[in-house]
Amino acid sequence: MNVLAILIPVSVSLGILGLAAFVWTMRASQYDDPDGDRARILDERYDDDPAG
């Protein structure tokens, strides 16, 4: 059962990592314009400037 001592912290920290990623996407306004984001991926203006 010693394996639990490793696996439980791993599973919990993976959960926290996922949550942190979710919080980041939300703070970065990634849910504000779903239609626009879907279209922007086709736009070559961002090829050289992915952050813009």
């Binding site: 959960g15 849910y31 992915p50």
Partner: protein
């Protein structure tokens, strides 16, 4: 933020304007693709004063930031790139609420916590025992308690408000189930009891219910922001006269006593008295009359009327919130609040359901306590009853259906504003139309076949004029392939007509007694060339698909009526043309409302469709109300549904969708109830484990969501 590729590090920092307040917001009704985004942003980016322009395709808006920018040049630049743009009044648009984001965050926390706790629970269910089971329970508690405390806040807050007012709402049993399940499981884990751990159930409940709440919120928010956008499109400005100089100001800033000028084509910004000038006013939005009325010095005019032919100088009597139009809008807001009290299906189900849940939970506790004398065991059974009866699927059943239906209607150009609109629309059996601006376009159309030479001369005179009859003559000439005859020195004589010279003769087009020595026929205009007089008469043009829409409604078994403030003859003409049997003209706004109330007393459920101020009374007493997007703000804010396109045909689809989705809502509630019928006896007899509860909850939530997503008939 670190960039993902080495080359990106060299890029300049992203402009920090995205979250700042934009200086100008434009509405772009036609954009739909990646190419549109690029061309809009490029067109605006080329202007030197623009710092950043960012398109939001979901909202169909572009947010522009920059120093000292005005919308005019932006709209021109966009027109050059082939995009229609309208200015939005940022003040009226209001700040976008953060409620949606807040709910999403709570869903995220509940979801991730649920996954982790579920992982630990699966180990317990599959046989972990003794110290391991206890350890797992303690870890679950450490994850679940903070997560529940954070995610469940909306439910706890609403339950507390309801309880403090001595009422029960659906959030009371929800909060009770979540809180009891979490706290009792914690106590049992700490004391080392043999009881079940309900942490995963508490989290799953919170998670599913939050999704229902988020759907509900997102739907209402979309409708609200679209409605605010319609309102923000009427940027009303006024031309203020100060010592002879003209200055453009916002209509709200006018005060009684100010002098304003209304140019032809302007909608009057305030109530007042004409001091100089002669013109015709289009009052159709206020009275439903299709014929323009003449005004001159000393006559009263009201905000919302449209000046047609000549410039008017007006002394403001009432402005801003004091105008007759605004006072009506306030009345309308009250009526709106009244109708929102109509209890929807979900509310009615919740009202019947909440006491049952409490009684069942309490009965289970007392029964088991009496039978076994074991308080822990009794509490465990009571929790399982509460968790299983908890209206997880019920919370999703109605919002999921209305989200699907509303999104579908939005694609058809229908904006559903009210939460209970779909249910009320499904009960309609009588559809009542207003005439001017609703069934008809409000534009006049030439009647009969006049002499082509006269028509071409009239079109030549009418070309420069704003009057609806002039536009009808020009349109009629174009329709018949006639070139407007060349006319020199055309001048518009306000309140009378247009005159000019053609072939050395003076020609006049206008009021019959002015254009020639004819008798004053009040309806129509005459063309006079000094010797000969041709009379043109007009009729209203029904919307192109009005007849089709009416036939479709009749085919579905709806009765149709036409109520109008216009002259009886004009109403009768339109009614005959469209085949409407019940048609009433010369109705005052009060009479319209009274007529609808009389039908309601007969047990009829009416849908009122209207656009003007004279319809507002009728719109507020009808069982459901609809108005075209071109309607006055007062009418639009009263309507449950706003028609965004120029077509009437979606009305038939709207009613069909409303009926289908109401059936679907009832189905969903029945499905959710069915799970309870199976699970409650199981819980009551003490056989429900957290595993069964989790299965029942997920299965019923999934069933209702899938049923909602199924194609609507």
């Amino acid at each position: 933020m670190t960039a993902a590729c080495p080359a990106c590090v060299a890029l300049p920092e992203r402009a920090a304007t995205r979250d700042a307040d934009p200086d100008v917001v434009l509405h772009l009704p036609d954009i739909h693709c990646a190419g549109c985004i690029a061309s809009v942003e490029d067109a605006l980016g080329r202007l030197p004063e623009v710092r950043e322009a960012r398109v939001n395709l979901t909202l169909r808006r572009v947010f522009i930031a920059g120093a000292n920018i005005t919308p005019g040049p932006m709209i021109e630049a966009l027109a050059g790139a082939g995009h229609r743009a309208q200015e939005l009044d940022t003040g009226r648009l209001g700040r976008q609420g953060n409620e949606g984001r807040d709910l999403l965050m709570r869903i995220g926390v509940a979801g991730f916590a649920m996954m982790n706790v579920m992982l630990l629970s699966v180990a317990v269910w599959s046989g972990a025992a003794g110290a391991t089971e206890r350890l797992f329970h303690l870890i679950s508690a450490a994850i679940a308690l903070p997560a529940v405390a954070f995610s469940g806040r909306p439910f706890f807050a609403s339950a507390l408000t309801a309880l403090s007012r001595g009422r029960l709402n659906m959030d009371v049993p929800i909060s009770l189930a979540i809180a009891l399940a979490a706290l009792v499981s914690l106590a049992s884990a700490l004391l080392g009891g043999e009881q079940h751990g309900w942490f995963d159930a508490a989290l799953a409940l919170t998670f599913f219910l939050l999704i229902g709440r988020y759907l509900d919120h997102a739907g209402r928010n979309a409708a609200r922001s679209a409605a605010a956008e319609l309102a923000a499109l009427d940027v009303s400005q006024a031309i203020l006269l100060e010592g002879g100089a003209e200055r453009i100001v916002r209509a709200e800033s006018l005060a009684p006593g100010d002098m304003i000028r209304a140019r032809p084509g302007d909608r009057l910004p305030a109530d007042g008295v004409v001091t100089s000038g002669l013109s015709d006013l289009d009052r159709s939005a206020l009275t439903g009359e299709s014929k323009a009325g003449r005004v001159g010095p000393g006559e009263e005019v009201a905000a919302g009327e449209v000046n047609l032919t000549g410039p008017l100088d007006i002394r403001v009597v009432r402005a801003g919130r004091e105008t007759a139009l605004s006072r009506l809008t306030d009345l309308v807001a009250t009526a709106e609040a009244q109708r929102s009290r109509h209890a929807g299906i979900a509310d009615r189900a919740a009202r019947a359901y909440a006491p049952v849940v409490h009684i069942l939970g309490a009965a289970a506790f007392l029964l088991w306590l009496g039978l076994t004398g074991d308080a822990w065991r009794a509490l465990d059974v009571a929790i399982s009853v509460l968790v299983i009866t908890c209206p997880c699927a019920l919370g999703l059943a109605v919002p999921a259906v209305s989200t699907v239906a509303t999104a579908r209607l939005y694609k058809l150009g229908l904006l559903v504003k009210s939460r209970t609109a779909l249910e009320r629309l499904s009960e309609i059996d009588l559809v009542v139309f207003d005439k001017t601006g609703t069934l008809t376009t409000g534009a006049a159309r030439l009647r009969g076949e006049p002499d082509p030479a006269a028509l071409s001369l009239a079109a030549g005179l009418a070309q420069g004029s704003n009057h609806p009859y002039s536009r009808a003559i020009v349109a009629a000439a174009a329709e018949r392939g006639l070139e407007p005859a060349p006319v020199q020195d055309v001048t518009e004589v306000a309140g009378r007509g247009v005159e000019g010279h053609s072939g050395g003769r003076r020609v006049r087009l206008g009021r019959p007694d002015w254009a020639g020595p004819g008798d004053a026929d009040p309806d129509g205009v005459a063309l006079g060339d000094g010797s000969h007089v041709t009379l043109f008469t007009f009729e209203e043009e029904p919307r192109p698909d009005a007849e089709e829409c009416l036939r479709m409604l009749e085919a579905h078994g709806y009765d149709i009526a036409l109520l109008s403030g216009d002259a009886s003859a004009a109403v009768a003409r339109v009614a005959t043309r469209l085949g409407i049997e019940t048609a009433k003209g010369r109705m005052t706004p009060e009479e319209k409302a009274a007529w609808l109330e009389a039908r309601a007393a007969e047990g009829r459920r009416t849908l009122m469709i209207g656009d003007g101020l004279n319809d507002t009374g009728a719109l507020s007493v009808a069982h459901a109300a609809l108005s075209p997007g071109s309607a006055l703000e007062a009418a639009r804010s009263l309507a449950d549904v706003v028609l965004l396109s120029d077509r009437l045909e979606p009305i038939a689809t709207l009613l069909a969708t409303a009926r289908a989705s109401t059936v679907r809502m009832k189905q969903n509630i029945a499905l959710a109830g069915l799970y309870n019928v199976v699970a409650v006896p199981l819980a009551f007899s003490g056989h429900a484990t957290p595993l069964i509860a989790a299965l029942a909850m997920s299965a019923s939530s999934l069933t209702v969501s899938l049923n909602a997503a199924r194609k609507l008939a």
